[in-house]
């Protein structure tokens, strides 16, 4: 008896959860699953201009919704992913892309970390070499000391 009630409650909760989720992602009339996957994939690569740390797919901002509809409309017109991205970049600059494109003004951004890694590696290498030399000299001194001690014997 108890179990039956619990099941019913759970069933209700699940039904409502599904309803809420369906409302959160505003439904667009996709023609098939492949188009929906493509849409989700594309909007995940685009930045919401209002919240900025969220992508278009996840954002609840009003503008993000408008831009999702815009992307959907462009897809219906048969534009490619690159064309749609360019369409938004023309209006909102590279900022709208989550991955900034590689070009002279973003070289430092893209290759900076590698540069710092190389710099760090160079420092480590130099330090190790110096230490290595210092230890060898040290050990030679110790050897001499023991030999001298031996002489004393």
């Amino acid at each position: 008896m108890k179990r039956a009630i619990l099941r019913m409650v759970l069933g209700f909760l699940l039904a409502f959860a599904g309803l809420a989720a369906a409302q959160a992602i505003d439904p667009l009339p996709f023609k098939d699953h492949a188009q929906e996957v493509r849409f989700q994939n594309l909007t995940r690569q685009l930045r919401c201009l209002v919240c900025q740390n969220e992508n278009l797919a996840d954002s609840n901002a009003d503008l993000a919704r408008d831009l999702r509809h815009e992307v959907f409309g462009l897809m219906q017109q048969g534009r490619s992913d690159d064309q749609i991205k360019q369409y938004l970049v023309d209006r909102y600059s590279d900022f709208v892309l989550y991955d900034p494109p590689v070009k002279p003004s973003t070289w430092l951004l893209w290759f900076g970390p590698g540069l710092f890694l190389l710099l760090g590696a160079a420092v480590v290498l130099v330090t190790i070499r110096k230490r290595g030399r210092a230890t060898r000299i040290d050990s030679r001194l110790v050897d001499n000391a023991t030999i001298e001690q031996g002489d004393d014997w």
Binding site: L49, V50, L63, D66, R91, Y92, S93, F95, V96
Partner: protein, 180 residues
């Protein structure tokens, strides 16, 4: 030399972080730079707020520079900007076009009736469709468009007297020289 290396490294970091603080105090990192400056403004045809039967288009505005101010009754920062516009609108020397963004016309009318209307004309973009072409991502935003229909300047966020005097007015003076 080796001894001072940590100090040099530390000073480099101080310089780097100091630069970051200085840069961010002058630039809003959240500001999306407009790629439209220096380019032709997108074509638009939008209805008047007061009379939806009439429209204003880009072609009808060609021949003289004008300032477009994106605002909305729901926009709090627009309320901060409003007194500044009221004070400066008539001194600018170019028409000030209000661009009512994603707003209920009735709300916008009530808002203007309550706070005063600094605009020479108000156009309404209820769906915000044209605003996407302008790269609008919030309100207030303002665009200065020259006589040839080219966007020459964009200001994101509320105008302050300082910004108007320092950035907007010199540019307007230049545009007026270009287009006699």
């Amino acid at each position: 030399m080796t001894r001072s290396l940590p100090l040099v490294g530390f000073l480099l970091l101080v310089a780097l972080f100091g630069f970051g603080i200085w840069w961010n105090s002058r630039h809003d990192p959240r500001e999306v730079p407009s790629p439209l400056i220096g380019k032709a403004a997108p074509a638009f045809v939008l209805p008047h707020l007061e009379d939806a039967g009439q429209t204003l288009s880009k072609t009808s505005m060609l021949g003289k520079p004008y300032l477009v101010n994106v605002f909305a009754s729901w926009c709090i920062a627009c309320g901060d900007e409003h007194p500044v516009l009221m004070a400066y609108a008539h001194k600018l020397g170019v028409p000030l076009i209000g661009y009512d963004y994603k707003d209920e016309p009735a709300d916008a009318k009530a808002w203007l009736a309550q706070h005063g209307n600094p605009y020479d004309l108000v156009i309404a973009d209820r769906e915000g469709r044209t605003a996407i072409d302008f790269g609008v991502y919030g309100a207030p935003e303002s665009f200065l468009i020259d006589a040839k229909g080219v966007i020459r300047y964009k200001h994101i966020g509320p105008f302050t007297p300082d910004v108007i005097e320092r950035e907007l007015r010199p540019l307007i003076a230049r545009l007026k020289q270009e287009a006699p």
